[in-house]
Structures are given as structure tokens and as C-alpha cells.
């Protein structure tokens, strides 16, 4: 670096840097058979930010989330329309030529209910690496520890890595699932109502974790809990009946929503 560039850098650091797009859905529609669950949704997902999807039950927020790792491909009769662009390589995730497995190797997901495999804690975290053909014990050990530390679970389980994952508490199981998703260094981490099956203390620990995780990766989270969206997210999208009603900076959405419908939902007059 030449010294003349230094003032520019510090000036940029002082102000909030302009957000970079990590992904973007363009005119995304989705159909379960004949039923159109998503209608023409276009919105950006910013890099290393938390984007929350909120809206009443059945509004399509989970459906939208599950488009990002092509989960819908597992079931017959589902159809996508439109694009989800992943940056910086400009890959359209929904392109039929793109293998859904390739998409899932880049974008991980944490589900609503903790779903550990009936295997040991270690094997749960290592599974994503094994799927990628990793066999070296030393590398597996290292990555498993790193992922468990990343999910703030290492200290609680380091002495019982080879015990069955079902013996953990609900909150620990969910953090294990986060570790499992982190172990493969995903670019985006999808969360589908990750705390809806957890008690308030476990919920708080997961929320704290989200704040730490966004230092390294991009997060897209579905939540039915508006306070949670306000607490953890940088951007919020409000959806209703398969449509994107409003998208913006979380503070703006919660303090001064532009749309009357968003305001009604957020203030609890509806939903």
C-alpha cells in the first residue's frame, strides 16, 4: 500500500461501507404443482449481513428460503420461475443446468427443529466433510473443532465428542446443527425459524451466535418472531401471501415502514 491511499481508506472505514450484494432473487416465482406460492420476488441479499424474512404463516417465507439451496428439488411437482443470482461469480442457482448438490455445497441450511443424525456429536459435524470426500483424521478433527467453536458449543461437548447427539439439550442440538452447517465453510447460511422449538435462554444464545457469524458469512433467516428480526437482522423483508411487500434496512422497516400493511403487521394489529 502506498501512503497516499491511507486517508481514503480511513475515510471509508469511518462511514458505513456500501453493502455488497452476495445474492439476489430476480422475479422469482415458485409453484407447488398448480399453486403459486411465490409471486415475482426481487430482492438483494447483502454480503456478511443478516437478512430477516418476516410475515404471517403461509406467506411463503420458508418457501422462499428453501429456493436458495434448491430444497424444493427433492419433491416432485415443484417449479421455479425467475432467477437467484449468486455473486461474485454470477451463477444462477435456479438454472436447471446447475446441479442442486453444487448449490447445497455452497449454501448451508439450519432447520426449524433441530435434526441431528442419530450418530455421535463428532460424526454429525464431520458428515458434510465426509460427503466431500475428506478422510484425513487430522483435518476432520481440526474442522470439527473449528465448527463447534464457531457454533459456541465446543466447551460444552469437547469431552464427549463421541457420545450420541440425541443426548444434548434442544438448544445444544440446534447449535450442533449450526456447527454441522458451518463445517463446510458455506458462503450463505439459511436459517428456517431456528429458535421456534427452543426456550428463551437457548434462543438468546442462538441470537448471539448469529451476530458473531455474520462477521464471516451471509445469513438469511426466516422468523415468525418480530422482536427477533429486529434484534438480529440488518435488513428485513416483509412478505404476505407470496408477495414481497416491503424490503429495507431493519431499523427503517420497524420504525418508519413505508407500507401500511407492514406497519399493521409489525405493530401487531394484524397477523
Amino acid at each position: 500500500m502506498v501512503s497516499t491511499a491511507a486517508p481514503e481508506i480511513s475515510a471509508a472505514a469511518a462511514a458505513e461501507p456500501a453493502p455488497v450484494k452476495k445474492a439476489e432473487s430476480k422475479s422469482l416465482s415458485f409453484y407447488y404443482g398448480d399453486f403459486q406460492a411465490l409471486k415475482n420476488i426481487s430482492m438483494p441479499i447483502y454480503d456478511k449481513k443478516v437478512t430477516a424474512l418476516i410475515g404471517p404463516s403461509g406467506c411463503g417465507k420458508s418457501t422462499y428460503l428453501r429456493c436458495f439451496n434448491r430444497m424444493h428439488d427433492l419433491y416432485p411437482g415443484n417449479r421455479y420461475d425467475g432467477q437467484i443470482m449468486l455473486y461474485p461469480d454470477n451463477t444462477n442457482l435456479l438454472n436447471p443446468a446447475v446441479d442442486p448438490i453444487e448449490v447445497r455445497m455452497r449454501i448451508s441450511m439450519v432447520f426449524q427443529k433441530p435434526n441431528p443424525f442419530p450418530k455421535s456429536i463428532y460424526e454429525n459435524v464431520a458428515y458434510g466433510l465426509r460427503v466431500r470426500g475428506e478422510r484425513k483424521r487430522a483435518i476432520l478433527d481440526e474442522k470439527v473443532e473449528e465448527a463447534l467453536r464457531g457454533a459456541a458449543l465446543w466447551d460444552e461437548v469437547k469431552d464427549r465428542l463421541h457420545e450420541l447427539a440425541f443426548n444434548l439439550s434442544g438448544g445444544q442440538q440446534q447449535r450442533l446443527c449450526i456447527a454441522r452447517a458451518l463445517a463446510t465453510d458455506p458462503e450463505i447460511l439459511l436459517f428456517d425459524e431456528p429458535t421456534s422449538a427452543l426456550d428463551p435462554i437457548a434462543t438468546a444464545s442462538i441470537e448471539q451466535l448469529l451476530a458473531d457469524l455474520k462477521e464471516k458469512l451471509t445469513i438469511l433467516i426466516v422468523t415468525h418472531n418480530m422482536q427477533q428480526a429486529a434484534r438480529v437482522s440488518d435488513y428485513t423483508a416483509y412478505m404476505y401471501l407470496g408477495e414481497l411487500i416491503e424490503f429495507g434496512v431493519t431499523d427503517t422497516i420497524f420504525i418508519k415502514p413505508r407500507n401500511k400493511q407492514t406497519e399493521d403487521y409489525i405493530t401487531g394489529r394484524f397477523g
Partner: protein, 309 residues
Amino acid sequence: MSDTAVRVQEIRALIAAHKRWDIVFGIVGLLALMVGVLTFAVLFIQMVIDGAPRLSWDFFTSFPSRRPGQAGILSAWVGSTLVMLVTAMVAVPLGVGAGVYLEEYAPKNWMTDLIEINVSNLAGVPSIVYGLLALSLFVYQFGFGQSILTAGLTLALLILPVVIVATREAIRSIPGAIREGAYALGATKWQTTSDHILPYARGGILTGVIIGMSRAIGETAPVITIGALTFIAFLPPAPVSSEFPYLSFEWIMSPFTVMPIQMFNWTSRPEAAFQHNAAAAGLVLVVMTLSMNALAIYLRYRLRKNLKW
């Protein structure tokens, strides 16, 4: 009396009238149950009384004989064991493979539906029909003769639907969330199947296989149809030997007899002493079947212990 008291009286009368039907059904149900249980108990006790005195070490280590006191079930239980071995080796890979394919791989369309209906119907086909099929296909067409191989294949066909259905049930009991969890990590269909579906379905599949085998071991009609002998005074060649190449598959083409045929043979003899032999053999067969079922229950318990869903 006050209105409330009258009302309570009425409600009580109503409940009493309704409860009479509870008692009536209780009695009818118990009778229905007893018909089955008592019949089996009487048959079993009769068999024990007739057969138990004949049970001895010699009974298991002797070949059939013209003299009832010296006759034993050696060739029958060895035959049954070897036939079951062939049956398991054929039915397990075929049945589990078909079950996994139908559940995990097959596209959901009318073809798959048709195959599904046919598989369940196969379970209801009378076993003698399998015997006739095996006679023309395995014995004559393929030239396997009246051998252990033919019997094993026939009984494998017979229990194939049971194994397929058990495999599918076991796979279906695995929650979708586990499957999605594996796929979400980038696993392929085969990785998901071999790393998760099959290991977690293992208990249910094994149970189904054993239940199927315990049915097959008592089957008589198809084995008679393909021409099992009723009087065999030699054993098939041993499968292991002390000389190279140590393993031999000659036994697979050997003539054979099985437990139910040995029983059938003895019951058709006029001498009463042979009836005792038949009862003793029946006792052994029932114990074999029951212990297989017990093993199935134990395995189901053992292998499901770590699966909490």
C-alpha cells in the same frame, strides 16, 4: 326433587344404559380371543405330551429310519438350515434393494403405483403357486434340479414381498427432516441412502427378514411341489473343508428334505410311534419359529434404542 337432581338422575340412567354395551362387548371380545388362544394352547400341549418323550440328543443326530425308535431329524434340520441360508442370501439383497428403490429412487407415477400394488398382492399368492412356478422355472428351465438351491430360491421368492414391504415401512418411519438434513449438506441420493437411510432402517428391515424367514421355514407345499425327498439318509456335502479351497458349494445342488416334510412323512405312517416322532419334530419346528420371532423382537428393540423419533 329439584330440577338439577332430576337431571343428574337422567344422566346416570343414560350412562348405565350405555355402559351395558361396554360389558357386552368385553365378553364377546374375550370369547373371540379365547377361541384362538385356547385352540393353539391345546394343540401345543398335545404336541408336547406326544413329542417331548422322543426329544433326545439321538433324535437330532439320527437319520430317518424304518424303526420309529431310531428315527431322527438330522437330515431335516440340516436341510432346513441350508435352505434358509440360501433364502436369506437371495431374499435380503433383492428385497432390500427393491424396497429402497421404490421408496427413495422411483419416480412417483402410475408405473410405480402399479408395481406397489403388485408387490402387496404377491404376498397374498398361495404358496403352492410359487411351488409350481419354481418347478417349471428352476427345476426344468434352469436345470437346478430338486436341490437346496431350488428350494432356497423358491422360498426367497415367497418371502420377497414381506422383505420389500418391511424395508419400505422401515424407511418411511425415518423422519423427512433427517433426509433433508443430509441433502442440505450436499449429499447425493446414494450417500443419503447408504449413510443414513439404510443404517437407521436396519432394525425394521432385519425384523421383516426374520418374520419372513420364520414363515418360510414352516412352508411345506412349495417344497413338496419342487420335489423335495421325504426319506434322506445322508447329509449334503459339507460347505467347509480342511483342504483347499476350504469353501465348497456342492451342497447347494444336493437333494434335501426339510422339517415340515419330515413331519408330513411321519404323520402319513400308520404306526403310532411315528406320530410321536412327528409331534417331536413339530415341537422343534415351533421352537425354531418362536425363537426366530423372539430374535426379531430383540433386534428391533436393540437397534431402535438410539433412534429417538
